[in-house]
């Protein structure tokens, strides 16, 4: 199998990753995302930002579960707005929602198998894929336990297992480490690095340590706009260059980038108002 490790724009052979142009998402009257342009290639991308910044809105649109009100989303070379191509995208996508209910009475195995069925995995390979996915999140010994009997951190890991069961090319994790204990988080970062070697992985999180440890790129979102893009190292360097608050370089970088963004957009906001 050949892996396209570089998202070469000139080669149309195997389109990888995600391209977002002019994305706009509205919830009733509030604007969750406003003219966002982003590119994600293979690797692990950290999505940072304060509460209500638009991280979940972005992930939900990328997961094709929410409709954008404007702009274009291209995933693995398919236009995600096109109903007929959407199935093809979803077949090769994994998504961990911030919160997901579980079906009453389902065991871990049944839950993951149900999602595999939703993703139209071939019946012959599903049982093995389910066991492998559950083992990868460290729940092999609880595979036949009812989901409702598990602790919060374990349910989170069941969610991770259902997201990776179809060996997706694009993975979207919304707050995957919430509720995991420190050891589990370390293991999850290891899994992230493994997944990022071949797939495009986007992780929304509040924990900047996760980003520093496991991500190859960082995107900082604030007020529905992209505030910063770079690598964890460049974000940390930004923090070192300023005297912002924070207990480690990357936290300082996070605060510095946010403040710089907040200082900037007065003109942008004024322009936006004028345009309306």
């Amino acid at each position: 199998m050949t892996t396209a490790s570089h998202p070469s724009r000139s080669l149309p052979a195997e389109p990888v990753g995600i391209r977002v142009t002019g994305l706009r998402v509205r919830h009733r009257r509030t604007v969750a995302l406003d003219s966002v342009d982003l590119d994600f290639g293979p690797g692990v991308h950290g999505l940072l930002g304060p509460n209500g910044a638009g991280k979940t809105s972005l992930i939900r649109v990328l997961a094709t579960v929410a409709e954008p009100s404007g702009g274009r989303v291209e995933i693995l070379g398919h236009d995600a707005g096109d109903q007929r191509r959407r199935g093809e995208v979803r077949r090769r996508m994994g998504y961990l929602p911030q919160e997901f209910g579980y079906y009453p009475g389902f065991t871990v195995r049944e839950f993951v198998a149900y999602v595999a069925w939703l993703k139209e995995m071939p019946a012959a390979v599903t049982p093995n894929a389910v066991e492998r996915a559950v083992a990868r999140v460290g729940l092999a010994d609880r595979i036949d336990a009812k989901v409702r009997t598990l602790s919060g951190g374990m349910v989170r890991r069941v969610g991770i297992a259902q997201a990776i069961v179809n060996d997706p090319r694009v993975l979207l994790f919304d707050e995957p480490t919430a509720g995991l204990d420190p050891e589990q988080r370390v293991e999850f970062r290891e899994l992230l690095r493994e997944l990022g070697a071949s797939s495009t992985v986007i992780v929304s999180t509040h924990l900047v340590e996760d980003v520093a440890a496991a991500c190859t790129e960082v995107t900082l979102v604030e007020g529905g706009r992209v505030a910063y893009r770079g690598t964890p190292d460049s974000l940390a360097a930004l923090g070192d260059a300023t005297d912002c608050v924070g207990d480690n370089p990357i936290e300082r970088g996070y605060t510095a980038a946010l403040r710089a963004h907040r200082a900037r957009p007065r003109q942008a906001a004024a322009l936006g108002e004028a345009a309306r």
Partner: protein
Amino acid sequence: MSSFGGFLYARSRTVPRTLAALAGTVGFAVWAAERMDTYLDTDQRAPIVALSPLLAAAVIGVSLHTPSDELDRTAVRPWWPRRLTQLLALTALAAALLPLAVLGDATTFGPPAMIRNTLGCVGVTAAASVVLGARLSWLPPFCYVGSVVLASSGVRGPAVTVWAWPMQPGPQPGAWLAAGAAFVAGTALYAVRGARPEGPRT
């Protein structure tokens, strides 16, 4: 495994529990019809014909709930065929079994009226599940049918067979038209839109 997947889908929508509840509803209707000695006076079957389809529709409506709408939305296939199959199959079952409670005279609150009311109530409930969410979908039809039962006795006029369709004794075309329209519209609306998301993210 696709049949296993279908089985998991049925379980995710609590179809086994729904079947048990429908069987209970039919049993209750049959028991009530016998207790009320309805074979002596078929007009006495009116409450059974008005209320048991309502209970069956409530059971079906609640089964349209999905605990994980967010994950269901990532399905590769469009949802409408599965939704339509589920709703039609459960409705067909209820419409086939409930008339057992009112066998005999077909013109006064007999099997045709029972089938008509089942279709009508399911239609209103399905539409309510789209607007209100599946768990409260029984509420609007209960209010409507309840008001009709209370208000329609003694009212005369050409429009009454339409708006009071749950209380019409038999083959009135207006009642069939209203119940049929409710069924077609409610079913189509539910198949296309699905129940309103409830639970973790609302």
